[in-house]
């Protein structure tokens, strides 16, 4: 139910600017919905694009799950803060510090009962006030108990 394996775009970079892990295992009844919370921590001095950056070229924060037979209903992201940096003419929609992402799962009525591990990928791209760092993907594992 944890994990913080950061996969950068070009592999020689080892610095992890962010970590993320599910807060707790999820229990879900067949035919019902349940929420999974993922806690994300970004190092001080850095910001990452929100899920809705205002520039088409910027890479949004995105959490995806591979969780069959569970279905992802939606994921709620924190609202970006509008921040102005020396390198941007217009304010950017960014996230800093610690925050949570919440995914709502649905278990089909025919889902097999029992514990299973579903995997998630959190993709983000961070910058500081002078430079940007390559997009990275943090792999997540979430324990889900279907009842």
């Amino acid at each position: 139910m944890l994990v913080t394996l950061a996969i950068p775009s070009w592999p020689q970079i080892n610095t992890n600017l962010a970590s993320a892990s599910p807060v707790a295992p999820v229990t879900i009844k067949r035919g019902a919905q349940a929420q999974a919370k993922v806690h994300v921590r970004l190092m001080p001095g850095y910001h990452m694009n929100s899920n809705k950056p205002l520039d088409e070229y910027l890479i949004p924060l995105r959490l995806t799950w591979t969780a069959p037979p569970l279905e992802v209903v939606r994921t709620d992201y924190p609202e970006g803060k509008m921040e102005k940096y020396a390198f941007s003419e217009k304010p950017l929609s960014v996230i800093t510090g610690d925050f949570d992402l919440v995914t709502e799962f649905h278990a089909p009525a025919a889902a097999p009962v029992g514990s299973q591990t579903v995997t998630g990928k959190l993709r983000y791209q961070a910058c500081d006030s002078r430079a940007c760092y390559p997009p990275r993907t943090i792999e997540l594992k979430l324990t889900v108990d279907v009842q």
Binding site: W10, Q12, Y57, A86, A131
Partner: protein, 193 residues
């Protein structure tokens, strides 16, 4: 009352003062001493037209090698400067060479190049290329390479336009000597961080 001579001198002084105030101070070049410069590693990468570009193609030129990506906002501050440098100093033996680190390749980069009217050559970078330059940890990262193919200055992150311009001018003024690649193509440019 002032006589004509006094008025002329005052006007002249005023002009001198006004000119000195309106002209930004020249940036202090920060190029490395010649005997401390490492050879820039050669490479062979494709440009947007599929043609192979090698650093050795730039024999005898001053080169600004710029690693960037379309998702890098600070990089986009520098690109208009580089477009102007390419126009202004090309005839003196200067070139900008962009290295895109976009994962999505030309599909992402070409539209941006067209929209921004980038007038200098661009290649698509990869991990091997980044490794040759000591590992590119963040963008923008730029290397200012002298006429002998040696790294004279390195910039990690956004810097002032005047920093680049001062270095380019100083290197262009330097006499031509050995050619790009003479100092050893395979030597790692590992002194940038």
């Amino acid at each position: 009352m002032f006589n004509k001579k006094t008025i002329f001198v005052a006007a002249l002084l005023g002009t001198v003062v006004a000119c000195s105030m309106s002209t930004p101070p020249a940036a202090e070049p920060k190029v490395k001493a010649e005997n401390t410069r490492n050879a820039a590693a050669d490479f062979a990468l494709k440009d947007a037209d599929g043609k192979t570009v090698k650093l050795a193609d730039y024999k005898g030129k001053v080169v600004l090698l710029n690693f960037w990506a379309t998702w890098c906002a600070p990089c986009k501050v520098e690109i208009p400067w580089f477009i102007e440098f390419e126009k202004q100093y090309k005839s003196e033996g200067f070139s900008v060479l962009g290295v895109s680190m976009d994962e999505e390749g030309w599909k992402a980069v070409k539209p941006y190049l067209e929209k921004s009217k980038v007038n200098y050559r661009m290649v698509m970078g990869d991990d091997a290329m980044a490794q040759k330059y000591g590992g590119i940890e963040s963008l923008p990262t730029s290397f200012v390479i002298d006429r002998q193919g040696r790294i004279a200055a390195t910039h990690v992150g956004l810097v002032e336009r005047a920093d680049y311009e001062g270095e380019i001018r100083e290197l262009l003024r330097a006499s031509t000597g050995a050619r790009v690649g003479d100092a050893g193509d395979t030597q790692l440019a590992s002194n940038q961080h």
